[in-house]
Amino acid sequence: MRLSCPLCGERDRREFTYQGAAAMVDRPAPGATTEQWSDWLHLRDNPAGRTRDLWYHEAGCGAWLVVERDTVTHEIFGTALVGGDHAD
């Protein structure tokens, strides 16, 4: 498996660490209810198909990426830097 890092280009999977669903990036507002925080922390979709995940390019540029891929076909549709492209 290879992932295309927006900064480094196509790289081997061993350079990356998987974190989990990309929904973690969308934090609730600071004044959100306990239930909203609980849902954000604990509830995950488990799709058979397209999913968006966070990957860390640990052994490369150190960027966090959102990788959109298919859990059934293993096809990778695209990668993007978390936080846009400031300070790269």
């Binding site: 900064l7 480094c8 790289r11 081997d12 061993r14 350079e15 640990e58 052994a59 490369g60 540029c61 150190g62 960027a63 830097l81 400031h86 300070a87 790269d88």
Partner: protein
């Protein structure tokens, strides 16, 4: 006053030659990590131009104004090498001294990419990594920075990994040289 003598981490490990490849150490001198504050990348690059005559490198790029060089080393991070950084740059970026935290190797010879192909999961042949380009990747399990310079491939790694790094690369050099002898 005690006079301290700087020691290299290599002891008697270097240089190593095997077949058409040579591995040697070089002294990167003062090194400073430059990490621009949010939205200050362009301002940092301008300040660097004014103070040192080189800009902040794009991903994979090396900027140079001899004897200084600035190596891209990650997202929002570059290393200024070859001399001290102007303290005025700290208005635009976090500056962290890296001197002596890293060791530098040079792998020379046409078979250098072939040697590193055994350890590094990235294509390092001149077509893929031309002169003046740099990248971050793995060498075995160690994170490294690899740059193509006129003399060969330059490898930066954490000083604590120095012995292991030489061991791994020297082994790969001997194996590639052995294959060449077998034809």
């Amino acid at each position: 006053m005690v006079e301290l003598t700087a020691q290299t981490p290599w002891a008697a490990l270097l240089p190593v030659t095997a077949g058409a490849t040579g591995l040697s150490a070089w002294d990167p001198g003062p090194m400073t990590a430059l990490m621009p504050y949010r939205g200050r990348r362009a301002a940092l690059s301008e300040a660097m131009q004014a103070a040192h005559g080189l800009g902040f490198p794009d991903p994979g790029e090396v900027t140079a104004a001899p004897p200084l060089r600035c190596l891209w080393t990650g997202r929002g991070q570059a290393f200024l090498m070859g001399g001290p950084a102007d303290p005025g740059l700290s208005a635009q970026a976090a500056l962290v001294d890296q001197s002596d935290g890293w060791v530098a190797l040079r792998l020379e010879g046409e078979t250098a990419p072939e040697v590193l192909a055994r350890l590094v999961p990235v294509d390092l042949r001149p077509a893929a990594l031309p002169e003046g380009r740099t990248l971050r990747t793995l060498c075995g399990h160690m994170t490294v920075s690899i740059t193509r310079a006129p003399e060969g491939l330059e490898i930066l790694a954490f000083r604590s990994m120095a012995g292991t790094l030489v061991h791994e690369i020297a082994d790969a050099m001997r194996l590639v040289a052995g294959r060449a002898v077998l034809g």
